[in-house]
Symmetry: C2
DNA sequence: TATTGTTATACTCTATAACTATA
DNA sequence: TATAGTTATAGAGTATAACAATA
């Protein structure tokens, strides 16, 4: 991986990606805060709204230690947005699942995450498609 | 701002951007950790390597409260990477500036931040240019 | 023995409010 | 009086290590 000098276009693309990342984060945190949630809590609630998960799996998704998940779920549980259920198949496991209110909150949260939907509206169908293809190849 | 239904391409672009953000963050934190720095410390050190800044300005750049900057600079100063200098023009102001070792660390840090440089290498010059133009318009 | 989740502990980042030294 | 930086305090996220219950 020799650190060859990057050409000017590449340098600018890297900077632009930095801008996108900064903006994405800012908007994500703001959207979460509108629902009195931290970024991490919003992320977990969103995960659980797709399907209930064992504590261990949440930690893997978040790429953090399982001990941290205990606290995040504790706080969501106190808020009445999530509950811990036993796993019939393995009594060691606790499944975190959103309550009805949790599901609704996750839904409203998703709706307020307008990032890249509004700005993308300025691009034509064809341009959005080529942006999609370029991002796909970048992440491949 | 009516929440009209987004088309499939837009939805996928939003997801891809989420992936880019996640990957960017992971790589940034890892690069910082390789130098025994947190993400916030690396960000500040990088800022200061461009030019010394008053504490207040650092807080503005980080979009956080000035009181937080005190701690971050404290820790960088303890490590010998940054120093506080008086501002001749205003005795209330303290300028945070990188030490020689701080400048070197910032440089090595920048080199190890390969994100989007390596993956971008798989795109042609023309493709990188169109990616740049699309990102520019998205952020405009 | 190994695994799941928790607790205990410590560190960093964060915001708020009160303080100091300048301006 | 207003501003720059700090301190004090509290909450949240993070990692590490040790623990109880279950497999």
């Amino acid at each position: 991986m020799p650190s060859r000098r990057a050409d000017p276009v590449t340098v600018e693309v890297v900077e632009l990606i930095g801008d996108v990342v900064a903006r994405y984060h800012m908007e994500y945190e703001e959207a979460a805060a509108r629902h009195q949630l931290t970024g991490a809590q919003a992320k977990v609630l969103n995960l659980l709204s797709l399907e209930p998960l064992p504590m261990r799996r949440i930690a893997q998704k978040l790429r953090c230690e399982p001990s941290n998940v205990t606290g995040i779920i504790d706080r969501l549980e106190t808020r009445g947005l999530v509950e811990r259920r036993p796993d019939p198949a393995d009594r060691r496991v606790k499944l975190a699942a959103p309550t009805e209110e949790g599901v609704e909150t996750a839904e409203r949260l998703r709706e307020s995450l307008d990032f890249a939907r509004e700005p993308l509206a300025g691009l034509s169908e064809e341009e959005r498609t080529s942006l999609r293809d370029l991002l796909r190849r970048m992440l491949a």
